[in-house]
Structures are given as C-alpha cells and as structure tokens.
C-alpha cells in the first residue's frame, strides 16, 4: 500500500488507508503515522503535559482508530478531523479520570500559534495552512477558542467568567469556527 506523503489526501485515499488500518496492514499504519503522529503527539503533550503521557495517548489514538475503523466514512469528514477528535476526547477523558477535574490543567491561552521555526526539519504544510487560516480570527476570537479547546472551559463557564450572556459566547464561538472554516475553504480553492 502506498500513499503520497505530502499534500492532502483525497477521500478515496483516506478510506483506503483506514481500510488498511482495519486489516492491520503495516504500510497503512506507517502511512497514517507519518501524517498524523506529530499533530496527535503535540496535542497530547500540550494537554497532558509530559512526553510519556503524550506517547501513551498517541498509541491509544491509533489503537482506538483501528477499533473504530469500520465507522470511518471519508465521505462524511476528513481523516485528520476524525483522528484529532479521537485524540482530544481521549486526552480530556484521561484528565477527568486521573485528576477528577473536568478540564485540562494546562490552559494554553499564551501558547497560541506562532510562526514556524526556521530550523524545523520537516516544514509541516498542514501547520502552515492552519496558521494562515487562523489569521482570519481576531485575538479575542483566538483566545476564546483556546480557552474552550485547550482550557476545557464550557461556554457557560466562559460567560460567567467574562460576565457576558451565554448566548453571546455561543455565537462568538460559532462565528470564530465559521471564519476558520471559510479560510480553509478559500485555501482549498485553486
């Protein structure tokens, strides 16, 4: 089994990779690893706070993906979204289970995306694109998303902390996500 390492996969390629994963095909697992291990590990590291926990999480994400592989339908969504959602859910579940807290310990509002470092061995196209897409957001919108996604704060908690109506926070969250989505769509257009 082979797949291009660079550039986004089309739905058919994603479906084929996941079918290979389901069958335990080593080439498929390695192709998925090459594409997704780093963002998964990075997310785990940011949320769980140690490389050991991040490694365990990364292994669990791939194993969970194997178990759920038959559920994946490339016509319904991107493989990256599916895997990163698994990663985020597993990390948050782990934090809740181990610490009894309902949100990650690390509120990374100060670790918002930066310009990629020049000495990065493999410039990540996906990261560059993600940073460009996030440029469509205001600082306030980026902070809001970070407080929810990395900080685990619900809309109600944010509303109470900021003293604004719950509906306003929900609307702002939606607006921010739609902006990012539109920026991604613009990027995908030739």
């Amino acid at each position: 089994m082979s797949s291009r390492h660079n550039g986004p996969l089309v739905a058919r390629e994603e479906q084929k990779l996941v079918e290979g994963l389901l069958a335990g095909n080593e080439d498929a697992v390695r192709a998925l690893y090459a594409r997704f291990a780093r963002p998964i590990f990075t997310l785990g590291f940011r949320l769980l706070g140690s490389p050991e926990a991040a490694e365990e999480l990364t292994q669990d994400v791939f194993l969970t993906a194997w178990r759920k592989a038959a559920r994946f339908d490339a016509s319904r969504g991107r493989l990256s979204t599916w895997l990163m959602t698994i990663a985020h859910n597993l990390a948050v579940d782990r934090l809740r289970r181990e610490t009894g807290v309902t949100r990650p310990r690390f509120v990374l509002v100060d670790e918002l995306p930066e310009t990629p470092s020049a000495d990065e061995e493999e410039p990540l196209m996906e990261r560059d694109a993600a940073i460009r897409a996030l440029e469509s957001l205001s600082d306030a919108e980026r902070r809001l998303l970070a407080r929810a996604y990395f900080g685990g704060l619900t809309a109600r908690e944010i509303a109470e902390a900021d003293g604004v109506p719950l509906g306003t926070v929900k609307t702002r969250l939606r607006t921010a996500l739609i902006k990012v989505r539109r920026a991604n769509q613009d990027k995908e257009r030739p």
């Binding site: 994963l21 697992v29 780093r38 590990f41 985020h88 995306p113 996030l134 969250l173 996500l177 990012v180």
Partner: protein, 259 residues
C-alpha cells in the same frame, strides 16, 4: 430536541466541551440527521485547524514501531498468536458498520415520514453487507465459510425505548458458531445496566451472549461470543434486556438465508 436547538450546541460539541447529557443528545441526533451532521463536520474541521497550528513537539524515536507492533498484535497479523481473537475483532469492526444500518433503519422507522432516511438506511445496509463480505474473506478462505452460513438480523427498540442494533451469526457445521451483537443508542443511565444479550429458540430455550457493563458516548457497545459446543441453529430471537429484566431491544436473525 429540534435541529435549531441541536445546532446551537454544535460549537461547544465541536470543541469537545459540551457537558455529558447534552453531548449524548447531540451524538444521537447526528446519527440520523444529515443536515446537522454536515454542520458538525464543518465546525469540527475548523477546530482541528487550531490543533494543527500548535508548535510541534518532538516525537520520541521508535514510537512508530511501537504503534505498528501494537496494531499488528491487536489485528492478529500473520506471525502473531492472536489470529483467532483478531478475527473476531475484525468481524466486530465490520459489524459496527452493519449496526449503523440497524440504528439508521430504526430511526427511519420511527420517523417514517422521512422517506429519504429509509433510503439512506438501505444504502448503508448495502455498503455494510459489502464491508462484511470483504472482512469475512479476510478471515478465512471463502471455501471454509460459505456465505449461506452467515446470517444477519436487526434490533429495534421496544415501546418507549431508544436504540437499535444489528446481529451477525455464523452457524456452520465446520467451524465454531458465533454471534456478534452491536447496539447503539441505549440509555446510559447506570440503573439500566448491565444490559444482557440473549438468544432464544422457538422452544423458549435461551443462551447468553454476554453482558454490557459499559456504553460508549453514543450508547453503543459490541458483544461477541463464540460457542464451542453449541449449535446455534434455531436460536434466532435476540433480546437485549436491562438490569430490571425489561426487554429494550429485540430482533430476529434470518437463518433461512445467508448474509
């Protein structure tokens, strides 16, 4: 909950902070509502952008090899000693797709004015059967597992209950019989658990398939049992009961025809 109310929850759902009760309601809704599912997918895609923009952390050397080894072991790749177990696991995975059809069909049946849902459920059924066929061929040579020895059925909720599911049976004179049951959308109320899955024949004799002590966030679970000294011929009724013994899902496996 209406689509408007569901969509109000989707931003929090997408970033993974929607509290449990609402999250389960949203997940159940997304199982059958294509419109809301599309919006959820789009918002989820936007959220992932945020994760991708993080400063990358260095991945430990050898992690890829360790992941490959774990998956190959779990999948029972040739050379491991867990082939049999993995075979069942693969079949379960295939059944998850099959069960999605059961859930979709059940929902379509409850909202029969949505003819397009029924059509979509039928399309999923066909895809599921194709998937299962592929998996079966991966498990054993087709000559050892004639298609007419594998049988399927759907589980539907009893009055006032939620959920759905699907059943796959292998009833063969040559290999061990087994039953796989996959459910979805069951109530996660701890008072309802454990759920029990049993088979029943026309004489009222029952065989336990297994207990469900834990449900995933969509109220789903898989149960598999291989029967070493038991012919499953005639055990066509499938019942899922709650902790009180009330039947919450039921269905019949059509043993007259293969999958």
């Amino acid at each position: 909950m209406s689509c408007v109310e569901i969509r109000e929850q989707l931003p929090e759902f997408a970033v993974g902070v929607l509290p449990e009760p609402e999250r389960v309601v949203v997940e159940r809704h997304l199982q059958w509502c294509a419109g809301c599912r599309k919006e959820a997918t789009e918002l989820g895609s936007a959220v992932v952008t945020f994760a991708y923009a993080l400063e990358p952390a260095p991945v430990p050397r050898g992690l890829g090899d360790r992941i490959v080894a774990r998956i190959r072991q779990a999948a029972g790749a040739p050379g491991t000693s867990r082939r049999t177990r993995a075979s069942a696991a693969l079949a379960i995975a295939a059944m998850i797709t099959v069960a999605a059809l059961g859930w979709g069909s059940a929902m379509a049946g409850r909202a029969d004015r949505f003819a397009d849902q029924a059509a979509a459920a039928e399309a999923r059924r066909e895809r599921a059967l194709a998937t299962f066929g592929r998996v079966v061929r991966q498990l054993v040579p087709i000559s050892q597992l004639p298609v007419n020895e594998t049988h399927m059925g759907q589980l539907v909720p009893t009055a006032g209950r939620l959920g759905g599911g699907a059943v796959l049976q292998l009833v063969s004179p040559r290999t061990l019989d087994f039953t796989i049951v996959m459910v979805n959308g069951l109530e996660r109320d701890p008072a309802q658990m454990p759920y029990r899955v049993t088979l029943q024949n026309a004489a009222g004799e029952t065989l336990p398939v297994g207990r469900i002590t834990e449900l995933d966030s969509t109220g789903g679970a898989d149960v598999v049992r291989q029967f070493e000294n038991q012919d499953l011929t005639g055990y066509t009724a499938v019942l899922v009961t709650n902790a009180s013994g009330d039947v919450v899902l039921s269905g019949t496996v059509d043993q007259s025809a293969g999958a």
